[in-house]
Amino acid sequence: MGIVIQLLINSLIAGAIYALVAAGFSLIYSTNKFVHFAHGSVIAFSAYMLYLFYSILKFNFGIAVILTILFSGVFGYLLNLIYKKLRERNASSVILLIASVGLLILIESLILILFGADVKTIGFLKIAKGLEIFGGIITPLQIWIIIISLLLLGFLYLFMKKTKIGKAMRAVADNKDVAEIVGISSEKIYSYSFIIGSLIAGIAGILVGLEQNLEPAMGTNLMIKGFTGAVIGGIGSVSGAILGSFLLGFTENYGIWFLPSGYKDAIAFTLLFIFLLFKPRGILGKKWGGDK
């Protein structure tokens, strides 16, 4: 019984993190219509920013967190400026995808140069003793991870459904040409998507940075998981991305009940390939591909 509960807890934690990554990624994909792999670098950027502000510069934790989140938003804004330059030269969505992989590698290399390859730890909240729930153990930080993720995803949902900008984002995602003729600037919407997606990635980076160790390639690892979650749920659909991410979290964690735990990452890849082969539109099935 204890193991079932423990795996449930682990699944929820993993799913919550993946969902944050996937939701931002999917939001950006839905409006921009290209695969922004460099989204992963925002997560690593944010984790290392928190390390810089809190562990090196010894800022107050709250201030360090706020600065990190703001910087992540700015970082996303700047990434979009690079893509914008490419779009102005009529870059296709494939070119943008290649550029995004290049950016991901570049940024992770910069992190490696600046901070070194050794694993870093942000010593905050981590040592707290776990609570026991029905035989499973969960730390206060992990409870926070789940609560903050769910709240953020809820806010994102309300933002997309209720606010004027959120509706305009869905409008651009749906039909960019019509959005333009009612006076919605798609360039602005691209930019907003990057900022909002990156703010969420920034928060994910903080949560991951507190829960695990930092290493320069952490963004790529999480991006693969987030991307898998987004594909499973249906690419371009934010709610699909959330659903797919939790599904991935559960499959991974219950999968190692049957398989050695070294296979955890293989489970994600297998799931990704199964969906790409047999159900490329994912569970909430949207259309793949850029220009419609």
Binding site: A168, A171, V182
Partner: protein
């Protein structure tokens, strides 16, 4: 109200319109007909600054609007309904209408949505449904409703009857007449020559980027119209 003078326009280096002159008076319905690829849609796009204009000018209410941006054109009082039931399929009916008034004040939006609901009661009934679930004719009316959210004085309609059943087509033309009676000038592009000439005050016939013929309802009997329209087939 709208004057197009010697317009040359196209896409990048491909010139489609080769010297087009059109004159729309207050409260008129102008039909624009011609064979496939003649450049009818391109005329509407050039009014809305969605293609390249090489020379010539477009004057709206004594103001040169040739270089204006989309939001400026909407503020001037021009609204555009593109060809092919262009709506936000995954937004609700109400959200589609709200997006029509995206650049307008919230109060104006609320007032206009009431007017549109009054004109098209089914839109009010279905306001919380996703637009993709409407029938073809309803989707086209939604696209028109979205344009009406902008309070236009001039409405540009690109083939609103395309692909509709005869019944919805009739309904569509009735609605267009109704909108015009409330003081909105209309340029309507149509494949359906007979129907559109009948509701229009005047008709322009476009052939290969030039106006070949224009006139009132008598134009239907013109031999040249038959040559242009059915000659090539």
């Amino acid at each position: 109200m709208l004057k197009i003078n010697n317009l040359h326009a196209g896409y990048d280096k491909i010139e489609i319109l080769k010297g087009v002159n059109i004159d729309v008076k207050n409260n008129e319905i102008i039909a624009l007909i011609g064979p496939n690829g003649a450049g009818k849609s391109t005329i509407l796009k050039s009014i809305f600054n969605l293609c390249n204009i090489y020379s010539g000018e477009i004057i709206f209410k004594d103001k040169n609007i040739t270089k204006l941006q989309t939001y400026e054109l909407i503020h001037e009082g021009i609204s555009y309904v593109p060809q092919g039931r262009q709506i936000f399929r995954e937004l609700t009916v109400k959200e589609n209408l709200e997006m029509g008034a995206f650049i307008l004040d919230k109060n104006v939006m609320k007032r206009n949505i009431k007017d549109v609901y009054q004109k098209f009661p089914f839109l009010k009934e279905k306001r919380n449904e996703y637009a993709i679930n409407l029938s073809g004719g309803q989707q086209q009316l939604l696209a028109i409703g979205r344009a009406l959210m902008q309070n236009p004085q001039l409405l540009l309609l690109d083939e609103p009857s395309l692909g509709l059943s005869p019944k919805s087509m009739k309904e569509m033309f009735n609605k267009i007449k109704e909108i015009n009676k409330e003081g909105v000038s209309i340029i309507i592009v149509e494949q359906n020559a007979k129907q559109s000439v009948e509701i229009a005050d005047r008709t322009y016939i476009l052939e290969d980027g030039k106006i070949a013929l224009n006139g009132g309802k008598e134009i239907l009997k013109n031999k040249k119209l038959k040559d242009i329209y059915f000659g090539g087939r």
